[in-house]
Symmetry: C2
Subunit: 323 residues, 2 copies
């Protein structure tokens, strides 16, 4: 047992919440392996430890938060189902999680979403609600009003963040003496969860956010000292185009060591290296951590011999590889 | 401790030899993870356990046997170095193993070998000896005569087979109650090693060889009751074009449950499924086990609920994916 956490009210999740999430999702989620590569170590000039979320259920870390949030609902609330809007990995993750609990899931998707993503949600038993891209939130609100389903956003929710924190908890248990961890940063759910886990378990480990330069709202928000929403993102990393939220921002502001940015060509090169060297299929959003680790800015950081890299997802259209 | 093995003289390796190999290579080799996929399980109608050798040093299982053979040499012999001929994964594996022991390695390669493979061996400190494709063995013999290096073939050698057996030993430890295991079959080094491991550790587990129909010498050899060399192989699975050898044939003849064959299009489909669903880059030779598991012949087998699939390697030219 650890002492009560004074940060409990300040941040989205404390260690108790993350540990409870880990116990909750353990029967269904994979404890993803950590892989290493001597070649990539040589290239980075560091020892890199890759936490492999492409192996998670649904192909990405999103399942952790989705399942924890679904399992946190009381029975009566859960029975009415869940609803979200997502055209990315969270759509599948929430649908699978709802299936595990045996409750309905509605997923609002833009009507121009790729057919394969629509089919994936439907394949897991979810109901896809198409809408014009600009009306996602309104459509989700309408579904909620009509069905009584609980709206579970893809990142800005304490139970989702606690679930993503289990990725950090596992990484700490698997590689206990990391100097630094690099985490892909979109809305900041994964970054917040992992940062909170290390904040409590290993305060000396610095957690860095990794952002595409074409969607660097977290970096700009830290400079400004307030949330700067991401408008007109321009990056291949489609999972990282979102803005920070009210639950993720305080962690990014206070506890994250820094936000480091890279260009899309560095992301693509990292994605290719991961396939060639680690033999792992990682999507651009998921590969950004290696891109950061190989960047001159990161290589110039002192005291970062042992570095955890969270590879966050592996859902790639093989017919459209960017190289 | 187990009792002395009556098969010791009959087959290339017994359990002692495989266990000794495991201890010998442990400081350097990866204990590769076993991955699962609910989607692939559904497609196969079985529970599949994928032993992931693409994560092995050098990107393939070959490192196990190469390192064991190199470490088995006495100091004086080792100091003169090792020589082999290979244009495949064994070339890199033996070079890396020699580097670990700090001894020279000569690798005879056909003079039309891909530049990237030549560079890989050289990058690990090996000396590439180019030759006309038909003169590989003669060239290796000449290098051996000139240098005093020990010739270590890629599969038909007891120490190599014992090393490959460590893959089976690990799989047994990771998933103890398998009904069947499917192993890619070229020269039969991996198949022999894995079969011998299970023969001793879990005699009820049937081990199947997986062969491309365009290089089905092991299947034909079993029918004939003698080694039928593979001539003019025609398959995308370039690691599986070789013939059985004197050390691998007795195991294939006596202890392997059966050899199952598939067409190249099934191999390519399996390779793609592994990238899409398991997020793993596997070369055609390495993916054949899944192709067999999904084949009608395998699906008709009784008593095979829990099936180990050895994914043997992941060295793929991403610029030339076959889909």
């Amino acid at each position: 047992m650890h002492t009560p956490d004074p940060d409990r009210l300040r941040y989205a999740a404390d260690l108790d919440a993350i540990r409870a999430a880990a116990a909750r999702i353990a029967p269904h989620a994979h404890r993803t392996p950590v892989l290493t590569s001597r070649t990539l170590d040589r290239m980075a000039g560091r020892s890199l430890f890759f936490k492999c979320e492409p192996f998670q259920i649904g192909g990405a870390f999103k399942f952790r938060g989705a399942l924890n949030a679904v399992l946190c609902l009381d029975d009566e609330t859960a029975a009415r189902g869940v609803v979200t809007h997502s055209s990315g990995n969270y759509a599948q993750a929430l649908t699978i999680a709802a299936g595990i609990r045996g409750i309905p899931a509605w997923v609002v998707m833009p009507d121009n979403a790729p057919r394969v993503k629509v089919a994936a949600v439907q394949g897991y038993g979810g109901t896809v609600v198409p809408c014009p891209p600009a009306l996602r939130q309104q459509t989700a609100d309408r579904v909620r009003a009509e069905t009584g389903a609980t709206y579970l956003p893809s990142y800005d929710h304490p139970d989702v963040i606690a679930g993503q924190g289990t990725c950090g908890l596992e990484l700490f248990e698997q590689v206990p003496d990391l100097d630094a961890v690099v985490v892909p940063t979109g809305g900041g759910g994964l970054l917040s969860g992992v940062t909170l886990a290390f904040h409590h378990l290993s305060p000396g480990t610095r957690v860095y956010g990794a952002e595409p330069r074409g969607a660097d709202d977290a970096a700009r928000s830290r400079v400004a000292g307030r949330i700067i929403p991401q408008t007109a993102p321009d990056t291949i990393a489609d999972g990282l185009r979102t803005s920070l939220g009210q639950h993720t921002w305080p962690v990014v502001r206070d506890l994250v060591a820094d936000i480091l940015t890279v260009e899309d060509d560095e992301i693509v090169a990292a994605m290719r290296l991961l396939m060639e060297r680690l033999k792992l299929v990682v999507e651009p959003s998921g590969a950004i951590g290696l891109a950061v680790a190989l960047s001159p800015a990161f290589r110039a950081l002192p005291d970062a011999e042992r570095v955890g890299i969270v590879l966050s997802g592996g859902n790639v259209d093989l017919a459209a590889l960017p190289f």
